[in-house]
Each structure stands twice: as C-alpha cells, then as structure tokens.
C-alpha cells in the first residue's frame, strides 16, 4: 500500500536533510507505528506519505513514494488525499469550520460523497470517536482534546484507504488515547484501512502496532515487527526512546535465566511468562 524507495528530502533553505535514505513498505491493512526523538523527521515522513511533501513544502527530493500505486510526485495533492487521510499535529490550524458538524461535512461535501450517505457517515464518525454530544458545539468552545477528536472524526468520515496520524493523542488523557487506538484497530481490522501513526506513547504503540519504525536524525534507526524492534531495548534507551517495562522485564529475565525468551508487549503476556518461568 505504501512503498517508499530511498527517500531523501531536504526542506528549501535548510542544509541538513530532514529525511535520509528512507526505504519502507507497509502492506495493505498494515499498522505501522513511528517513534523517535524530536527532530527525527517523523512529521516530514507523514507529510511525504500524504504527498504534502513535496507538493506544499518544496525542497530537494530524491527517491520515490508510492501510495496505492500512485507516485506522490506525479499526482495532484487533491487526488492523493482521496487515498490518504492525514491528521496533523497542530489541531487548531487544521480545523476549518466553526461548528463540529460543519467540520465533518466539509471533506465529505468536497469529495462528492453522495448526499444520502452523508448522515450515516457523520453518525459513524462521531460515534466511533465518542463525540456525538458535541455535534452542534462551536469549535471555540471545545477543549484541546475534544478538538483533536473532531479532527480525527473529520478524516475518518472520509474513509480513506490509508490513515496517517501525526501524534493524534498529544492532548488526550490516557483513557481517550486508548479509545483512539482501539478505534484505529477497528478501522484497521474491520475496514482494512492501513494505519500509519506517529506516537510518543510507546506502550500503546507496542500494544496496537504490528510494525514499528524508529527514526533518528532523519534515518531509520531500526524497523520491523513490533517485537523484533523491542528486542533492541538497550539501543532504543540510548536514543532516548523508552521501551515498555514489560519489554525490559523480558530482557532482564533473559539475562538472568540465559534462555531465549519472547519479548512481551503487554502486562498479560509478561504475567504468563513469569508464571511459566516460576514453575
């Protein structure tokens, strides 16, 4: 679904590349989590998948990005956005309307969703994100977290094939963050939507993402299946990326027992492993 070949990108008027030699492939129905320290190029990568880089942000661009077979260079941003739905990091600047309902309508109207289908999609999106009660509210009266949910709902209503989210839970409390991840899981599993999410909450990423990629200074530090990436816990720590405690636990136990143990990503798994070892 997403195929990136040797992508190197330098923003105009910058000397250091924001992304360097990124090669990445996400299959249809994949769920990729991207993590890395500030300034690692995460946002640039999200922009590149949606075609916003280089269409809106010019610069030196090498390599290729293909989404659903379309090369992002050869296609217009408008055509690309039928396939890729993007939720940006800065919530306030991406909300266009003054009222929640209008914000959801905006994209649907533009992309020509049949008018008899609009109410269903509207209700679906509002319900999935859990903001049905905010439908008539003005954006100005919402909290940061509520706005973030509106931004997510407005993209979900469009049912894109690929969903790119740049730190969508930045302003959300733990319960709402989990709710968003659960929603992404549903969209991913039931509707086959490919999800790419940039996120700092590593515990959630480990639990939900099937693939993980760690970026550092514009380069891929490590990528692969979630468990595989987590087995590099010490290197990640050195980079400033915290691994979940359960992943540490498996590493520690491995050293202690001198056995090869699977990397745990959830508390339940860790519990089962510890019980197994105690027998």
């Amino acid at each position: 679904m997403i195929d990136i070949q040797a992508l190197t990108f330098t923003y105009k008027d910058e000397t250091a590349p924001a992304l360097e030699n990124i090669t990445l492939s996400v299959p249809e129905g994949g769920f990729l989590g991207i993590i890395g320290p500030a300034g690692a190029g995460k946002t640039t990568l999200a922009r590149a998948i949606g075609g916003i880089v280089p269409h809106h942000y010019p610069g030196d661009y090498y390599g290729s990005v293909k989404v659903d077979g379309l090369d992002t260079i050869d296609n217009r941003l408008t055509d690309l956005s039928r396939i890729v739905g993007t939720v940006f990091q800065d919530v306030d600047s991406q909300i266009i309307s003054s009222v929640v309902e209008d914000e959801l309508l905006y994209g649907m109207e533009n992309f020509g969703i049949p008018h008899d289908e609009i109410p269903r999609r509207m209700e679906f999106a509002l319900k999935q994100v859990g903001i049905e009660s905010l439908r008539e509210r003005t954006i100005a009266s919402l909290s940061g977290g509520q706005r973030q949910k509106v931004a997510i709902a407005s993209v979900i209503a469009l049912r894109p094939k690929v969903l790119v989210l740049d730190e969508p839970t930045g302003e959300l409390d733990p319960a709402s963050s989990r709710q968003i991840f659960t929603l992404l899981k549903t969209l991913n599993e039931e509707y086959g939507i490919t999800v790419v999410i940039i996120e700092q909450k590593i515990m959630l990423l480990c639990e939900f993402a099937r693939q993980l990629m760690v970026l550092d200074h514009g380069r891929i530090f490590v990528k692969g299946d979630t468990r595989e990436v987590l087995s590099h816990a010490e290197e990640l720590e050195a980079l400033g990326v915290n691994c979940p405690r359960v992943a540490y636990l498996s590493r520690l136990l491995e050293k202690e027992t001198r056995e090869t143990l699977p990397v745990c990503v959830s508390i339940e798994e860790a519990e089962a492993m510890v019980r197994g070892l105690m027998k």
Partner: protein, 248 residues
C-alpha cells in the same frame, strides 16, 4: 470581544430565515439609514435593530453590542457637536444644528453597525458562506476567506491571551490600569502574533487542500437553502424600510 462573532444557537424566527434574507435585511437597514435625513426615522431604525435582537432571542447580546458602541458614539457626538459652526448657540460653542447633526451621525453609526453583528450572532458562518455560494453564486474562494477569517477571531484572541499571560508570568504588568501604558506593552506582541498567524494560515491551507478544497463547486454543499414562507415578511420589511426612507 471574544464572543463578538460567536454563534448563539436557537430556533427563533430570525434563526430560521434564509441567510441571504438576513444579509439583504442588513443591507436594507444600512441603505435606509444612509438615505434618510430624519432623526425620528433613524431612531425608528434603531428600534428595528433592537426588535430583531429581541425576536432572535439574544436581548443580552443586543444590549452588549449597544453598550460597546456607546463609547465610540459618545466620542463622535462630542466631536461633531463641538465642530459644527452653523446654527444658533445653545450653550458655550455648541449650536442647535450641531446637536441635531451629531445626533444623526451617532444614530446612523449605531443603526448601521448593529444588524451585521446581530446577523452573525444568529447565523452560522458556514451557512452564510454556503448560501452565498449556492444561491448568489459567489465564488467559493471568497466565501472560504470569509468563514476562515471569522473562524480565527476567537483563536487569535486566545493566542493573544496566551502570550500576555506568558509575559505577565515573567513580570510584565499587563494588569496595569493605565491604558496608554497597556497599549505600549501590547504593541510588541504583534510580531509573535503575526508570525504564528502566518504559520497557522499555511497549515490551514494544507488542511483545506487535503480535504478537497479544489474540488468544491457551488453544488457541493450538503445543506440546501431554499427561501421559505417566513422569508416573505422579512423581504417586505426590507422594501418598506427603503421606501419609507425615500418618502420621509
């Protein structure tokens, strides 16, 4: 100020009017106010403004707007009264013609300023823009400019407040009672505010583009804005206001 353009939800007669009718009504009131030279008729127009506010169910807001305009009105009244040199003096250098003229200027100002703010209070900006695109066939680009500008007023104020709070926390006396001193302190804030707004508008442009801004046509809107029976009396009122202004 924060709530100046804020939509007040409701289901009054004014709320239900077609957005275009509301705009026409606003324009009719303004045109009538500029056509007439009759003090009593101007006062009657002010009555129409107030009536609209009361029917719309926003009397508090109406009075708020009136109160806000009062300061400017008082200033204008004094200026006009002092500077008019015709007529017979009533006291000191103020003449009867001056007072009459000042009254008219002030009333006209209030009459013209009120309906637009009122209309924005009882109409969603998006409805206004969509109706303009659908019914009047205003190019969407201009309608978008209007909605975005109004949408960002509260945002802008919020940001200004944030910057001021940050500065206050670092010992700058924004809570001073001296307005001149305060103004002097606010001016340097314009640079950061401007920079962040430009950055923000750039982001908004991308957000609009990735959600199909360029595909939008006059028939894209989901909501339709047909003229209904309740628009008729409003249209008649518009005609009556202008005819009366021409006659009196």
């Amino acid at each position: 100020m924060r709530n100046l353009f804020q939509y007040v939800p409701g289901n009054s007669l004014i709320h239900r009017l077609n957005p275009i009718t509301k705009i026409v009504l606003t324009i009719a009131i303004c045109v009538a106010a500029f056509m007439t030279d009759n003090l009593i008729y101007l006062a009657a127009l002010l009555g129409v403004d107030l009536a609209i506010g009361i029917i719309a169910g926003v009397p508090k807001k109406t009075l708020g707007i009136l109160k806000g305009l009062l300061k400017i009105a008082a200033f204008l009244f004094i200026l006009q009264a002092l500077l008019t040199r015709r007529g017979t003096p009533v006291f000191w250098i103020v003449t009867d013609t001056g007072l009459l003229l000042a009254g008219k200027v002030v009333l006209r100002l209030v009459v013209v300023c009120m309906p637009l703010t009122l209309v924005l209070a009882v109409t969603r900006v998006s409805d206004l823009a969509n109706a303009l695109v659908q019914v009047v066939h205003v190019p969407y680009k201009y309608a978008f400019t209007l909605t975005t500008a109004i949408r960002f007023v509260p945002q802008f104020l919020e940001e200004m407040n944030d910057i001021m709070e940050a500065q206050t926390a670092r010992g700058i006396e924004f809570d001073t009672r001296n307005s001149f001193k305060k103004l002097g302190m606010i001016l340097p804030l314009c640079a950061p505010l401007l920079i962040s707004s430009v950055r923000r508008s750039d982001q908004t442009a991308v957000a609009a583009e990735v959600r199909g801004f360029e595909l939008r046509t006059s028939s894209s809107g989901y909501k339709r804005y047909p003229f209904r029976l309740c628009d008729l009396p409003a249209a008649l009122l518009c005609a009556a206001l202008i005819v009366l202004a021409a006659l009196i």
